[in-house]
Amino acid sequence: MEEHDIKKELDAQDAPILRAQQGQVPKWELPPGYLDQLADRTLDQATTKPVTRYRHLQVVARWAVAAAVILAAGLWWMSNQEVGTVEQFAELDWNSIPTEDLQQYVSDNIEEFDLDLLTEGARETAGSAVVPPTPADEISIEALEEFLGDDEEWLDDLESDEWF
């Protein structure tokens, strides 16, 4: 009945090749004794699985122990490294460093822009050793006019609305 339905279904689907071959396709031949061997292998596997799991756990445990040893060795190595502390830095004898070395360090490591910022900061700080403060009344009028007169043209470049 079902086979008949299948053939009718294939007719309805306009599948003449499949319709002609339905029921004619040979089965695969099993190797001799295959099912008995399959039963043996299955029973072996089904009963030895817990051992496999135990062995798997053993492997995982070994890796875990190895990782813990490596981690402990790494922590020990790091804890024995000499690292400078804030106190050691504060105790540094700055006077023992030659001035030339300090200037060389500044020229090598601080850009001009940074130097300007440092200079401005020093001007605002009373008693700064970098640039001593200059009282305004000690600057002569002539000196100021000469200074401003050199770059007077820059005022003309600015638009009036930029001031407001």
């Binding site: 079902e2 090749i17 071959q21 040979p26 299955t42």
Partner: protein, 183 residues
């Protein structure tokens, strides 16, 4: 002995710890061939079929205590075998995304030697055509075309609707007929 009586005998033996192995051997000898054919139509080579069938049987052996008899024994066995085959094909697909894969090229080269008889030739051509189907369509086509299962039985095995199975089978028939008509 009627199939239902044989199933009852198998289940009684499996339920007895002293005769469990005997019951399992009877189950393998009763259903092993049919499950082999079903799995092989999905995974195509003997080696892969052997692996999938063994995994299926291990699962059957370990979970047979949970079989409540709400469905027929073969329905339960086919469900496990189909799921194992689909899992295998999915894993195979993931592995093959890492490499170049030609579905027809994956069929064993030795099969060329089988084109001696008409029946063998038909089987080989059908096998090549089925290899082009998506995994679930393979399973549906195999069950309907070769096993001649009703849609209701298949719905029990696949735990899906009859309508979905009819649509899937229809698509599979169209693709395979088209493939066969080209060569």
């Amino acid at each position: 002995m009627q199939p239902a009586e044989k199933d009852t005998q198998i289940l009684q033996l499996l339920g007895d710890p002293a005769r469990r192995e005997q019951g399992f051997r009877l189950l393998v000898n009763t259903y092993g061939d049919r499950l082999y054919q079903h799995i092989r139509r999905m995974v195509h080579t003997h080696e892969d079929t052997d692996d999938v069938l063994q995994n299926t049987m291990v699962k059957v052996y370990r979970s047979v205590d949970r079989f409540r008899g709400q469905s027929q024994l073969y329905t339960w066995l086919y469900r496990i075998a189909t799921n194992e085959s689909l899992t295998f094909l999915e894993r195979q697909k993931r592995q093959r995304t890492l490499f170049t894969y030609n579905p027809e090229g994956s069929l064993p080269m030795a099969r060329a030697a089988e084109v001696e008889l008409d029946g063998e030739h038909i089987r080989q051509r059908l096998d090549q055509a089925i290899a082009t189907l998506p995994p679930k369509q393979k399973a549906v086509f195999s069950m309907r075309y070769f096993e001649e299962r009703s849609y209701q039985e298949m719905a029990d095995i696949f735990t899906t609707s009859v309508g979905a199975l009819k649509a899937s089978y229809h698509h599979a028939v169209k693709k395979i007929e088209s493939y066969l008509s080209q060569g």
